[in-house]
Symmetry: C2
Subunit: 261 residues, 2 copies
């Protein structure tokens, strides 16, 4: 059995670190990458600082099979991801002629036509050797440079770019997941039994997540959700069955996630 | 003028990297730390893997004034943050007697009384030399070990722990922020003018953020928001005034953030 490929996400942008913007890309990418069998192993939010972007990209691309970045590929002065990727790889940052032609045609078709000025030309400027990621939302592309995949920060555009890229990624074995939950059961009651299940299935990731919310019947309270994850479906199902039995000793257990808050 | 202290956040938990849970702590802490003048410079989401937690904590505590962690301090087998902090600092991980007494009294008072079992005792076990962070939500504490501040992952408890900790942190100069936005203005139009404003105020962080949403009058479309941030209020206000004038050349500009999506 070959180990699955791994992924790291770099969220590039001062606006996430200042609290202005709540990131909306991590959860989408985590879910989709899990489905592709390329589990997300780390994510970092880093500022629009060239030295930080360059050193982080170089550290992470050596450590993970794939590095995905979001943010910083627009036309303004604070969009510096593309230039920094070129510097990280030690290649020139130059106008990508095929992309320039595609964008010029797009801008000319608009009514009224959009000026293809110097700022917009930055979006057609890529590290030498990069493969553009074209998507259905905009003609300004993302790009892949070896194992680094550079995408927009705007969620709608990022998703479109990711789905264009996904078929080109060599996936691993999908991560299977089963969840059970029980109201009015507390982590401190089941910790010992849960550790025993984890010991029986060392290759699985067995997680315990308390929740706090009002129940459908209006009573306040909470409970615990147990999640088994792994590439071996039979093991995941066996562990979920054991977790179900464990929770049943303390309360009324239900398959699946607890109702939303 | 002394440089502001800096902060790094470590979000510890497989559930965020798998996409099961959407982090709700980064934006809160980014905002509060900005108010305290301790800007968040980096955030990392890392898995429940001891070697990763230990090496990340040691790397980040050397690099930033403060390191905040969320997640992994409950009673179950996947709650390993506290032990890992002890290993990162090379100190024993031992029952904190004062905390044990506080938790024992709490559990004895409950109706019916809660058993203070081995799993729950883990929450009273701290790195030797740690200072507990007591909060109003639970008697199981967070703790500070030198410049590393360890908090719960559950947002309600994390916030309570942070507010208990905040008065003990030496803050810097608060980060001021001013925002203006204009509908039907696009980044490609204003990029050059915006770069000129940034050049006039090199100490400020001047950000440009496109948005895409329906307007209050029902028309689809989008616009751009410009945000000036920095410790010098007069400069922030002057830059926001210049950004207002820039946007006014292209559309109808409004102070503040665009309406929510």
């Amino acid at each position: 059995m070959t180990a699955n490929p791994t992924a790291c996400l770099l969220i590039i942008g001062n606006e996430v670190l200042s609290g202005r913007t709540r990131d909306a890309n991590l959860q989408f990418l985590a879910t989709r990458l899990g489905e592709l069998g390329i589990p997300l192993r780390e994510a970092r939010v880093i500022p629009d600082v060239p030295e930080t972007i360059i050193s982080t990209v170089n550290e992470c691309r050596a450590q993970f099979t794939h590095v995905f970045t979001t943010g910083g590929i627009g036309p303004t002065h604070d969009d510096i991801t593309s230039e920094c990727i070129a510097r990280a790889f030690g290649v020139p940052w130059e106008v990508h002629e095929e992309t320039r032609v595609v964008m010029a045609a797009d801008y000319a078709r608009r009514d009224p036509p959009v000026e293809f000025n110097a700022a917009r030309l930055r979006m057609a400027t890529l590290p030498k050797g990069a493969q553009p990621i074209r998507c259905t939302e905009t003609t300004a592309p993302g790009f892949s440079m070896e194992n680094v995949h550079v995408m927009a920060g705007v969620p709608r555009i990022m998703r479109s770019m990711f789905e264009a890229l996904a078929p080109t990624l060599e996936g691993g074995r999908p991560i299977h997941s089963r969840t059970v939950h029980a109201n009015y059961v507390y982590e401190g009651q089941i910790a010992e039994g849960l550790a025993a299940i984890q010991a029986r299935f060392p290759a699985l990731d067995l997680g315990s997540y308390p929740y706090y919310r009002n129940h459908p019947d209006g009573r306040p309270g909470g409970g615990v959700a147990l999640v088994a994850k792994g590439t071996e479906l039979a093991d995941v199902e066996a562990a979920a069955k054991a977790a179900f039995a464990l929770l049943a000793g303390f309360g009324t257990v239900v398959p699946g996630e607890p109702p939303p808050e």
